[in-house]
């Protein structure tokens, strides 16, 4: 397939460009564009064929998960004769590209994705419902719930993730602090330059990383009713204002523990150099902490209630316009939802598994995984309603402004007003 694309691209650049443009999209169009003629050609083969030879299943994956899916795909190819074409994409690009490409018929049959895209994908009419197959009972209920929207299951989950408190054991020991004040005290006593640091994504603000602290004030981003989110903004009112005040008090005009000068890389560097005793991060950052000894605990409460992080779930979505729906479903239920495949997925990209029986001892940081698991257990699913897409910009910007010293109540309340208006409009 690849060489074919290469030749085609070299010979017919302008035609591919035209196809790409008419697809309303981008470079990936050419990949699937050139795969469809072969797929439709083989469809006309005689029905005497005894296997799926000639059928092509296109799957979008990101760099981290490509090796894992590759393993499952190899078994599938061997047993069915079908071809699996893995298209590697940036994880951040997949959401917008999937929305844009599926309606043009150039999208994949299956894509990897995060559960919080679900609302947008449903609103865009690009996902199909799925079955978990024979092993349905082995999926973790939280993960399945996250992939469920309005009572329907739209994705096959395979991993969950949540952020947690990471502490430098050489500085503050491995005991989990109970409250924010305890943690700061432990940090100050340790003599570290900074008792605590947190990524605010620089000037942009990062509501995701600060969410456990916000939740400890009882200010969820959307009001939850019976486990699922409504589109009513829940972080306004006194609880939200209290959190805003907390941000201000610990911001640049207050204690300075939270600062907009810290982005992801700076944060990791500060923690890894031992300048910082505590930080809040996800399992993906552990690889950066090579120079310090650390342990992972749930985030301490700042406002009295549970500091629940967002739990994110990753899984597989099937395109609503897939011409290979049967093949795609068989691939998922028989070749992904198996203990072996799930183990392979875990080994290739260790994230908290959403499937029972996956052996996590092989992970680089087995103890840390337990800490993240504990944090995830008290977490709340990240809202997957389409309205969530509008939230980030307003929310992050307001937090950033407050940390920099804007009037907390005023800024926070204005954000709530603007956000509510944007959701209605």
């Amino acid at each position: 397939m690849r060489t074919k694309i290469g030749i085609g691209a070299a010979l017919a650049t302008s035609a591919l460009l035209l196809t790409a443009c008419s697809g309303g999209g981008d470079s990936t169009t050419s990949e699937s564009a050139s795969s469809s003629p072969s797929a439709s050609a083989s469809a006309s083969e005689t029905s005497e064929a005894i296997d799926a030879t000639g059928q092509t299943l296109t799957i979008w994956v990101d760099e981290n998960r490509q090796p894992a899916v590759e393993a499952a795909a190899a078994t599938f190819e061997e047993e069915t004769g079908a071809t699996v074409e893995l298209v590697q994409k940036n994880f951040e690009d997949i959401r917008a590209d999937f929305l844009a490409q599926v309606p043009t018929g150039e999208g994949p049959d299956i894509t990897i994705g995060a559960h919080d895209w679900l609302g947008a994908l449903i609103e865009g009419g690009v996902v199909n419902t799925v079955d978990l197959g024979d092993n349905a009972d082995m999926f973790s209920q939280v993960a399945v719930d996250a992939m469920t929207y309005d009572g329907q299951l739209y994705g096959m989950p395979y991993s969950t993730e949540a952020i947690a408190l990471i502490q430098n054991t050489d500085l503050v020991g491995s005991d989990a602090p109970a409250t924010w004040d305890d943690m700061i005290q432990m940090g100050v006593d340790s003599g570290a330059d900074r008792p605590f640091c947190i990524n605010t994504n620089g000037e942009t603000g990062d509501g995701y990383t600060a969410y456990p602290l916000q939740m400890s004030f009882g200010a969820p981003v959307f009001v939850q009713e019976g486990g699922s989110y409504t589109s009513e903004v829940g972080m306004g009112g006194d609880a939200g204002d209290a959190f805003a005040q907390f941000l201000y008090d610990n911001g640049e005009k207050g204690t300075g523990y939270i600062s907009t000068t810290i982005d992801y890389d700076t944060n990791n560097q500060l923690f890894n150099s031992g300048e910082c005793a505590f930080t809040i991060q996800g399992p993906w950052a552990l690889g950066s902490y090579t120079d310090v000894n650390f342990t992972v605990n749930p985030v301490p409460s700042a406002g009295g209630e549970d500091a629940s992080p967002f739990v994110g779930v990753q899984g597989f979505y099937v395109s609503s316009q897939s011409e290979n729906a049967l093949l795609a479903n068989i691939f998922l239920s028989d070749y992904i939802a198996t203990p072996d495949a799930m183990q392979a997925l875990y080994d290739a990209d260790p994230r908290l598994p959403a499937f029972e029986g996956v052996d996590t001892a092989s992970a680089p940081y087995p103890d840390a995984i337990a800490g993240f698991q504990a944090s995830a257990e008290m977490g709340v699913p990240m809202p997957s309603i389409p309205e969530m897409g509008s939230v980030w910009d307003f929310w992050n910007a307001a937090e950033s402004a407050i940390i920099k010293g804007s009037d907390p109540t005023e800024t926070w309340d204005k954000m709530i007003t603007d956000l509510t208006a944007a959701l209605e409009g």
């Binding site: 309606p103 907009t260 609503s320 049967l326 239920s333 389409p386 950033s400 402004a401 944007a422």
Partner: protein, 532 residues
């Protein structure tokens, strides 16, 4: 193509048509045109394969014209212009036309697909598994062209089709798991066979076999051709009336002029489709009170940014060019090479580096040059604007240094000597001779640079990402956002709610603005040329 000079040919006969000698000219042309035709045919066949008729017909047209142009005798000028025209058509006109088309639609979040796809999606979302429905081992069966499902319910094998509800079949057997193994009158289609036949496989996933005569009991449906469960739909699509009806509540959903299905009780379906909304996107950009104010500010800053960047980098580049053009400067070559460095380094990397260096707490700019002061370069609206201008100056003055050095060296020395003899001072010579002559060759480049910086997405995205956010606005735009980065933000590619229609409308506006500014500016430069 025709560099041979040997035989004196009649002047009217071109090398490429001539048959005298071995006729190399014609053969080369023939070979090249064969290649062009082969490529063209490949494109046409590819377009046929994926059923893209517009591309097919445009390619056919272009190919026919290409053959006519290069084989006809009277099309000499076109022979030169045609390739350029094709590229213009494909890379410019088409893209602009498509953007203009999208600008007239409401394509974006919630209006992502066409009507048929929206209906498909609504039906998918509506079809639910009947609560407590077990999953039955399933055998797909067929009788001629009719596909059916065979399942064993309570040990009795039943077969049904789309029209015929499930009914027991005599003499049918099932294995221990309940999977029917033999059904008299029906041929069992193996999963393998289904997998090898895409059309058949799609049919299997599409059919619903009613469980009984009563539609409320639901129908069997399979996703993997080996198990089936009972599902129920409440929505029914009426293609002629283009309405979706909920059979349970009786609500009729009719599409409104924005491509949303609205029920007669006022409720809406989640998924909508894109429709043509005329010029509404254009009016929204100026009349919507949420957008109008911030966009006006963004526009003003865009003009200021583009103008100040060009002016400052031109002047600085010119200054260094003048200095290093002086004969007394030693090691000119080395110094000039060093000057090029910021220009040679990828702009986005430089912007990222500067972002780090300008960090208020950890950045070297504050630590080294401001005694560790806490100056928030990227967090204060005016400082951030200044920082963007400064970094862009750093990035682009080497370009002007290069251009001006070249232009200075090509200035005629007679005029300067004549001025010297007339007793003109250095400043006078620069003002009346060097500068005007320099402007003749650099003004068009300045206009191009203005147009480039008007759309300079990279520096904004990498350095400030548009921030700091407007505190008095209700849309997520910021103090250093240029129109182009505002469009990116609005388009929702970054993860927010997408509104491609509005983003395209703004793109068209930007295109028109840049076009007008460039046209006016080019007219002005004509006057400069009169100096010579």
């Amino acid at each position: 193509m025709s560099t041979e000079t040997e035989a004196p040919a009649p002047p009217s006969e071109s090398h490429a048509r001539r048959w005298s000698g071995i006729g190399w000219g014609f053969i080369v042309k023939l070979a090249l045109m064969m290649l062009v035709n082969a490529v063209g045919l490949a494109i046409i066949m590819a377009a046929w394969g994926i059923e893209q008729w517009t591309i097919l017909w445009v390619s056919v047209g272009l190919l026919v014209v290409a053959n006519w142009v290069y084989f006809a005798r009277r099309t000499l000028p076109l022979k030169y212009i045609f390739p350029g025209l094709v590229f213009l058509l494909v890379f410019q006109v088409f893209v602009m036309g498509y953007t203009a088309y999208v600008a007239t639609t409401n394509y974006g979040a919630g209006h992502n697909v066409n009507m048929q796809q929206a209906v498909d999606a609504a039906l998918i979302q509506d079809e639910r598994q009947v609560e407590g429905s077990p999953s039955y081992p399933l055998a797909v069966v067929r009788d001629g062209d009719t596909l059916g499902f065979a399942v064993a319910i309570d040990g009795v094998v039943q077969v049904g089709t789309e029209e015929q509800p499930l009914a027991p079949v005599d003499g049918a057997t099932a294995d221990g798991s309940g999977m029917p193994t033999e059904v008299p009158g029906w041929e069992i289609v193996s999963v393998n066979e289904l997998l090898g036949d895409q059309a058949l496989a799609q049919e299997v996933t599409d059919i619903r076999v009613p469980v009984s005569d009563n539609a409320d009991d639901g129908s069997l449906r399979t996703r993997n051709a080996s198990t089936a469960s009972i599902y129920k739909s409440t929505l029914v699509w009426d293609e002629e009336a283009t309405t979706l009806t909920n059979t349970e509540t009786g609500v009729v959903y009719t599409p409104n002029e924005y491509g949303t299905f609205v029920g007669d009780d006022g409720s809406k379906l989640t998924v909508g489709f894109y429709v043509n909304i005329g010029l509404e996107n254009f009016t929204k950009a100026v009349t919507d009170e949420n957008y109008a104010g911030p966009l006006l500010k963004v526009t003003a800053w865009t003009f200021a940014f583009a103008f100040l960047t060009v002016a400052s980098s031109f002047l600085l580049g010119l200054f260094f060019a003048l200095v290093f053009n002086d004969d007394r400067v030693r090691g000119k070559k080395v110094l000039r090479t060093l000057f090029i460095l910021p220009y040679a380094f990828p702009a986005f990397m430089s912007a990222l580096l500067w972002r780090g260096m300008l960090n208020a707490e950890f950045g070297v700019v504050n630590q080294w040059f401001f005694f560790g002061a806490d100056i928030n370069w990227l967090g204060d609206p005016w400082l951030a604007r200044f920082a963007v201008l400064f970094v862009n100056l750093w990035l682009s003055y080497p370009y002007w240094f290069l251009v001006c050095t070249g232009a200075l060296q090509s200035l005629p020395s007679e005029t300067t000597e004549a001025a010297k003899i007339d007793g003109a001072g250095k400043w006078r010579m620069f003002r009346s001779i060097t500068f005007p002559l320099l402007m003749v060759s650099t003004a068009p480049l300045a206009i191009a640079s203005f147009a480039f910086n008007f759309n300079n997405f990279t520096i904004i995205y990498m350095l400030t990402n548009g921030g700091p956010r407007f505190t008095d606005a209700s849309v997520p735009l910021g103090s250093t956002d240029l129109l182009i980065s505002a469009i990116y933000q609005i388009s929702g590619i970054a993860g927010g709610r997408a509104d491609y229609g509005l983003a395209s409308a703004l793109s068209v506006v930007v295109f028109v603005v840049v076009g007008i500014v460039s046209a006016i500016a080019f007219r002005q430069t004509k006057k400069l040329e009169e100096i010579q």
